[in-house]
Amino acid sequence: MEKLLPAKDRLLKSKRSRLDGEFRGKLIVILCAVIMISATIAITIFLGTKGMQSFTKNGISIIEFLTSTNWNPTDKASPMYGVLPFIFGSFAVTFLAALIAAPLGIGGAIFMTEIAPSWGRKILQPIVELLVGIPSVVYGFIGLTVLVPFIRENVGGLGFSLLSGMIVLAVMILPTITTIATDAMSSLPNHLREGSYALGATRWQTIRKVLVPAAMPSLLTAIILGMARAFGEALAVQMVIGNVRNLPSSILDASATLTTIITLNMGHTTYGSVENNTLWSMGLILLIMSFAFILLIRYLSSRRKLR
């Protein structure tokens, strides 16, 4: 605090220059805020127009694009642009990953807040933070060298499969879910717990009947944020999922997601060609999905406020 000048030193300056500084400062921070708004708008507009080009300029039918399962853009005679298998793959891998990560994450959060609030949290919290820090390519690499051969030998199939993708993603989104769920659980008012215990409920009954229902909207938010991350993850998934263009019929089948097709083909296709434009349309789907996830979270948080 020693660097503070006495107030009178500053007051000696003319009023005008002070007001100038005031104005300039406000301008700078407003500018920073404007940058964020314009970045968001620019992303939406540019990716929107670029992503629509395959429909407006190249005349691909949107319905066919979204519902056809035939993807064969390189066939010169009758190219087919159906991305349904990739959309399905993205959703499948996202939901399956959430199916594993949500119980683990919420369970971990309950462990930290209810079972062992003192030492449990001290151990688990840093571990979760370290898991956040592992870059996604490293997850992909370990998936490729450990998980894929393991599944091939012990579970069956080729190893490259929805199963591998979902396990890698589940580990990746686990910290996201755990962190938010922990915040949600620990911000519950203590009288809920005390009231329940006073009624003679066991800890499990308190958790199941009182705490989890009370924290439900926040817990759902945690899961959705995790899913949003899983939906957009590209490189780690691409390394383990096998990138097959068919609809998978079992969890051991190789599959493909929107993100993996984009990363595989972006470099090979020429900018402005139909095939390239369809990749941008897939990017647009990703963008729209991330808006959808946010709307969902908003809806949940508005419900939380109503309570």
Binding site: W71, T74, G242, T270, Y271, G272, S273, E275, N276
Partner: protein, 302 residues
């Protein structure tokens, strides 16, 4: 006051760097046209972009070229054939590398680009060694890749389900293999991987797997290369035109190459590079080819 000053100073520096660097890069790219007179020492800089498979070859050649001509600077970037062709067509790089003919890529003004075929790459189908065959008829190969034959025992091999390993739709390797080995048939679905290393690894680890690889990957016994119609996949057979599955590696320029660009392309075609560096990286010298091919795939003797 201090923190505010720091912030504004940092912003100022950042802005300055951006502007200054922008000017810097502009002036440096101007040098291209001035470089490389016919007589005297070569100087200047060019940038090359495109096919990631070709990047090691061109980068190695550029390295040696720069060692011989110290005032020359050649930047070799990868990014994929499509990127290379787009960039050379719009003039942001001087040479665009591609593993397919520019005519085959949509949206590229192929008539404005000049093709320099710098190398040839031969490729063939490769199977897991346990499959037990090393020769396949072309019609059978097509049936395998289109999914009409699903078990190796139909071809006299082991009783083992066939697993296909493909390349991405837009890959040049895939285009060549589909065109010349499968006669244009569309392959059935299989695992899709971009990297030859990964493809080789999958074929080696998965029983009954079949994929396709360039000759340079057949260095050990981990995968078995297949002869097609009894013709062995060797350099000699490709050069004489007997073995059908091969492709050029192209370096495209916008308009005729001149100056430093031409000097570098000439260097790539020199015996020095064609006979040593190319071989080292598993390519076949284009100068030794006894047949040639056009963009439609028609082959004729030279």
């Amino acid at each position: 006051m201090k923190s505010f000053k720091k912030i504004s100073l940092m912003m100022l520096i950042a802005a300055f760097m951006i502007i200054a660097a922008a000017c810097g890069s502009d002036s440096s790219s101007d040098k291209d046209s001035g470089g490389g007179k016919d007589s005297g020492e070569l100087s200047g800089s060019i940038s090359v972009s495109g096919s990631s498979a070709m990047q090691p070859l061109i980068a190695a050649a550029a390295e040696e070229f720069m060692a011989e001509n110290p005032k020359v600077d050649i930047q070799v970037n990868a990014g994929g054939s499509g990127t290379g062709l787009s960039q050379v067509a719009e003039g942001s790089v001087q040479i665009g590398n591609s593993d397919v003919f520019a005519e085959e890529k949509e949206g590229i003004p192929a008539d404005k680009l000049v093709d320099h075929k710098v190398a040839v790459v031969g490729m063939t189908a490769a199977v897991n060694p346990k499959v037990g065959i090393d020769d396949i008829k072309k019609e059978d190969l097509i049936k395998v890749f289109t999914g009409k034959i699903t078990n190796w025992k139909e071809l006299g091999g082991k009783d083992q389900k066939i697993v296909l390993v493909n390349r991405p739709d837009s890959s040049g390797t895939r285009a060549v293999f589909n065109h010349f080995a499968l006669d244009g048939a569309t392959p059935a679905e299989g695992i899709t991987e971009d990297s030859s290393n990964t493809v080789k690894k999958i074929i080696n680890e998965t029983e009954g797997a079949i994929g396709y690889l360039a000759f340079s990957y057949f260095t050990d016994d981990s995968v078995t290369p297949l002869s097609i119609d009894g013709v062995k996949p060797t350099a000699e057979n490709v050069q004489s035109g007997k073995f059908p599955v091969w492709a050029y590696q192209h370096s495209y320029t916008k308009g005729e190459a001149e100056g430093l660009t031409k000097a570098f392309l000439d260097y790539l075609m020199s015996d020095d590079i064609q006979n040593t560096l190319l071989k080292e990286q598993g390519y076949l010298p284009v100068t030794k080819m006894k047949v040639e091919r056009d963009a439609e795939g028609n082959q004729k003797n030279i």
